[in-house]
């Protein structure tokens, strides 16, 4: 689901930001720079595992984390093995390390803040992070849609092939038969195809 961005500079906080950083000065400068923006900061210093509790309690929309934090594995896994919805992750880095940042971004990190970044740019960085995250999610969804379509076509093709072979239909007849069954029963063609395949296999494919 795409995160909404509020372009107005109204005081209503729309997106919650969780900061995981041992460097209090940096975190506070960031927090100050985000006042009167749509981002509400909930700061959290490094407190090992209460991180997960914090994530559960605050349900942040964006996570900011120091690249050296051991919590990075936990954050990264939130989108892979748990039911937690993926969130944009922004990384703090003491030095400017473009190569490392490029790799992290390939690994799903949405933006980064290097040591010499002016906190005044905080809002801009978060805006970019949200935009990039939404784009990334969009691509991921498109990819899984495309995969699903391919998968569905595979089943229909297989059912068609069986009908052609066992029922002596032409390809067009087989396709029409599957489509008609789907329309009559209010089912997806993929489901009809699956049923047909299992039925024909059950009956040994005889006429």
């Amino acid at each position: 689901m795409a995160l909404k961005q509020n372009n107005s500079s109204g005081a209503t906080p729309l997106l919650t930001v969780l900061i995981i950083d041992d460097n209090m000065d940096r975190a506070q400068a960031f927090e100050a720079a985000l006042q009167n923006t749509p981002y509400l900061v909930k700061h959290l210093a490094h407190t090992s595992m209460s991180l997960l509790k914090e994530v559960e309690n605050t349900e942040p929309d964006i996570i900011l984390i120091d690249i050296e934090s051991p919590n990075r594995d936990t954050i990264e896994s939130l989108s892979t093995i748990s039911d937690f919805n993926p969130k944009p992750v922004v990384m703090f880095s003491e030095q400017d390390q473009p190569d490392l940042m490029r790799e992290s971004i390939k690994a799903g990190v949405s933006a980064y803040v290097s040591g010499d970044t002016n906190p005044d740019r905080a809002k801009f960085i978060l805006d970019v992070a949200v935009a990039r995250f939404n784009e990334h999610q969009g691509l991921k969804n498109e990819l899984s849609d495309a995969k699903r379509q391919l998968e569905s076509r595979k089943w229909v093709d297989q059912a068609k092939a069986l009908l052609i072979e066992k029922q002596n239909m032409t390809e067009q007849q087989a396709y029409s038969a599957i489509r008609k069954m789907a329309m009559d029963n209010g089912q997806k063609m993929e489901d009809v195809a699956k049923n047909l395949i299992s039925m024909m296999q059950l009956m040994g494919g005889g006429k």
């Binding site: 090992s48 595992m49 209460s50 997960l52 509790k53 690249i67 050296e68 934090s69 051991p70 919590n71 990075r72 594995d73 936990t74 990264e76 896994s77 892979t80 093995i81 748990s82 390390q97 190569d99 490392l100 490029r102 790799e103 992290s104 390939k106 690994a107 799903g108």
Partner: protein, 361 residues
């Protein structure tokens, strides 16, 4: 002991390590001067998460790294990160993991067992009984932690629970916590148990916050745990340096075979792990602490560094890991046998290990 007339392409190396007992071959290679003997000036960089060690290795900021055995496969496939060809020509260690339960979970099991301590290694059926009891009482699911989604720890934890017919995807919750944070999480009641590498199980037992009920040797018998990973690109640009590095680490693993030397290693590791000798030494001398008052178990293979041809990377080992990844639904559905074979051939490089042995003689 030279690479003969072969010229080292690079002499200054940056190697990433993680605070675990099995960083010993790399730490001791530096400490004992074995890297130096092979013409290498190595800087070790302690890394705090597997994600960051992975990203640094991919980006070329680390020349080599101590990584979890499944990680080169995951990197080459581009799972959970950028796709990057990473090879394994050297197993740094075998085994070394254990499952520790919180004291309260261990107490619940004792109650189910008429107040008696259950026999160890623990049958996971006890966990199943606790799960059922909690379900009846309307309590929350048990929560276990492993160190990384692509880790032997994750698969060993699952395999152990699967033995009792526990539905690992639904009956329990599994989360990821880096090794150094495990004991704090257990102490704060945020998890009910974890699967982690040494010395972090020992630490939990010493602190009286957990009971180590089974080791990875009990679950998988023998398994490669950490490997010395490099990118294919780096190995191809630095073939002689790569072999020299492997030779130095192989020599260190030979040195680590003796118990007396392991004790010395434990002393040195204190500086890297920031833990006392009483936490680091037991696993290195084959002892698995169980509970604070209980008898330790003797597990001679707890940390294996050389014996039984431990360092030779074998395609069969990779195949087992891929099967575990498939079981955990971590690989794409259309992952074919042919893709599997190719991947294993690309990642596992016993040929390079053999080349190293040839120059080492």
């Amino acid at each position: 002991m030279t690479t003969e007339n072969k010229i080292l392409e690079q002499t200054d190396l940056d190697i990433g390590i993680v605070a675990l007992t099995d960083c010993a071959p790399l730490v001791m290679a530096k400490h004992l001067g074995f890297f130096e003997k092979w013409g290498l000036n190595v800087n070790l960089h302690l890394q705090h998460s597997w994600a960051t060690i992975r990203d640094r290795l991919h980006a070329g900021l680390l020349d080599a790294a101590q990584v979890l055995a499944p990680m080169p496969l995951a990197s080459t496939l581009g799972l959970n990160g950028a796709k990057c060809d990473v090879i394994n020509a050297f197993n740094l260690s075998m085994n070394g993991n254990g499952i520790t339960l919180s004291i309260s979970l261990f107490e619940q099991i004792k109650q189910l067992n008429n107040g008696q301590e259950p026999s160890l290694p623990l049958d996971s059926d006890w966990i199943k009984q606790v799960i059922q009891q909690r379900h009846v009482n309307g309590q929350s699911k048990l929560r276990f932690a492993a160190v990384y989604p692509y880790s032997c720890h994750f698969y060993q934890l699952r395999d152990w629970l699967l033995l009792a017919g526990i539905d690992v995807d639904n009956d329990i919750e599994t989360i990821i916590i880096p090794p150094t944070e495990m004991t704090a999480a257990l102490e704060n009641d945020e998890i009910d148990g974890f699967c982690v590498g040494t010395p972090w199980n020992t630490k939990a037992v010493r602190a009286g916050i957990g009971a180590t009920v089974i080791t990875s040797c009990d679950i998988w018998h023998e398994a490669p745990e950490k490997v010395l990973a490099v990118t294919l690109k780096w190995q191809e640009s630095n073939p002689n340096t790569f072999l020299a590095m492997l030779a130095a680490v192989q020599q260190t693993c030979e040195w680590l075979d003796s118990t007396a030397n392991r004790f010395e290693a434990a002393i040195i590791l204190q500086n890297y792990l920031d833990e006392p000798l009483e936490v680091i030494a037991p696993s290195l001398i084959g002892s698995c602490l169980t509970t604070k008052e209980g008898m330790p178990r003797t597990i001679p293979a707890y940390n294996r560094f050389i014996s039984k041809n431990a360092n030779l990377p074998q395609i069969g080992q990779g195949r087992i890991l891929l099967d575990k990844m498939i079981l955990a639904k971590q690989l794409p559905d259309d992952f074919t046998q042919a893709m599997k074979q190719q991947l294993l051939k690309d990642v596992y490089r016993p040929d390079l290990y053999q080349e190293m042995l040839n120059i080492k003689r």
